[in-house]
């Protein structure tokens, strides 16, 4: 690894080599062994910004936010369906068997999606967004 490459990586990824791209770490370790004092200066300079970035703490989650979000999760429709069956006089065992069959089916009430979004959901999420929204510079 050239010294320039070492400095470029420190500038991009910071002063902790364990956070550098995995493919570059072995070469980085050799560069550090070859010129330890220089490498330490480069990493310390990058590490100064890392320490500053660490002072920007993540936001505290307000009280019951997790519960409110969990409450929006869909429940198994089969459970509701089974409860409807019981008052009609069907046995609890039969209702439970029906519910298990529906849950095992896994797609009860699921909406149909396009093959593209199912095949690569990350690409679909990226394509879902208009690139024109990047009002600032882009790579």
């Amino acid at each position: 690894m050239t010294p320039e490459r070492f400095e470029t990586l420190a500038e991009a990824f910071g002063g902790d080599v364990s956070r550098w791209p995995e493919a570059e770490r072995e070469a980085a370790a050799k560069a550090m062994a070859a010129q330890p004092a220089w490498a330490e200066r480069v990493l310390a300079a990058a590490g100064g910004l890392d320490a500053a970035l660490a002072t920007f703490a993540p936001p505290r989650v307000s009280g019951d936010l997790a519960e409110r979000i969990a409450a929006t999760a869909p429940r198994a429709r089969a459970a509701a369906w089974a409860r409807w069956l019981l008052p009609v006089g069907m046995g609890a065992g039969l209702a439970a068997a029906c519910a298990a069959g529906v849950v095992a089916g896994g797609r009860f009430g699921a909406t149909v999606t396009t093959p593209a979004s199912e095949a690569d959901p990350v690409a679909a999420a990226i394509a879902d967004y208009d690139a024109g929204v990047y009002l600032d510079e882009e790579a």
């Binding site: 470029t8 990586l9 500038e11 991009a12 990824f13 910071g14 956070r19 791209p21 995995e22 990058a46 100064g48 910004l49 890392d50 320490a51 500053a52 970035l53 002072t55 920007f56 703490a57 993540p58 936001p59 505290r60 989650v61 307000s62 936010l65 997790a66 409110r68 979000i69 969990a70 929006t72 999760a73 869909p74 429940r75 198994a76 429709r77 089969a78 459970a79 849950v103 896994g106 797609r107 699921a110 999606t113 979004s117 199912e118 095949a119 690569d120 959901p121 990350v122 690409a123 999420a125 990226i126 879902d128 967004y129 929204v133 990047y134 009002l135 600032d136 510079e137 882009e138 790579a139």
Partner: protein, 180 residues
């Protein structure tokens, strides 16, 4: 290595409330970390987190194991929601220019516990969106370069360029700080 979220996601798709609570516990802090640093506003970060989970509940029954990492998808969805808000802010600012200098998106609630934290927050918000995104994904969310590039839809070389430019800009903005 398999996707660590797949098993939980499968149970969420089956309507298991315990699994939903577990997924919220697992992902909510990460979503708040991402959105909080992209937007610099805790209230907006909570809105993004709530909307992201609505998308998760919708996606869970359709998720096909092995084709993508769920965490990668979730980061992209959350970033899209953040960009919606950033665009809305700019549209509002254009339509109604402030009478006085804009001092930032909102009150502090644990985001900037120190003066340095406030300065870092302001410096991050002043970066071009894509540079901030790269730094948030790699430094704060601790995604590897390959995964971060995948989330951003760019090459690893482009990611590295964004990181370098972003960090140089931050160092210039924070140069008087002892740590920087």
């Amino acid at each position: 290595m398999g996707d660590p979220d797949e098993e939980l996601l499968s149970r969420v798709a089956g309507g298991d409330p315990a699994a939903s609570r577990a997924l919220v516990a697992r992902k909510l802090p990460r979503l708040m970390s991402l959105a909080g640093r992209m937007l610099g506003d805790p209230a907006e970060a909570e809105d993004v987190a709530q909307e992201a989970f609505l998308r998760i509940w919708k996606q869970a029954p359709k998720w096909r194991p092995g084709e993508a990492r769920f965490d990668t998808w979730l980061h992209r969805v959350a970033l899209n929601l953040c960009y919606d808000r950033l665009r809305r802010r700019r549209e509002l600012a254009f339509a109604e220019p402030p009478d006085r200098p804009d001092e930032g998106p909102g009150p502090d609630r644990g985001l900037e516990a120190s003066d340095t934290g406030r300065r870092v927050s302001a410096a991050l918000q002043a970066l071009p969106d894509r540079q901030r995104e790269a730094i948030v994904l790699c430094h704060y969310q601790e995604l590897g370069n390959i995964e971060a590039a995948a989330v951003m839809g760019v090459s690893v070389e482009a990611l590295e360029s964004l990181l370098g430019r972003g960090r140089r800009a931050l160092r210039a903005a924070l140069g008087d700080l002892k740590e920087a």
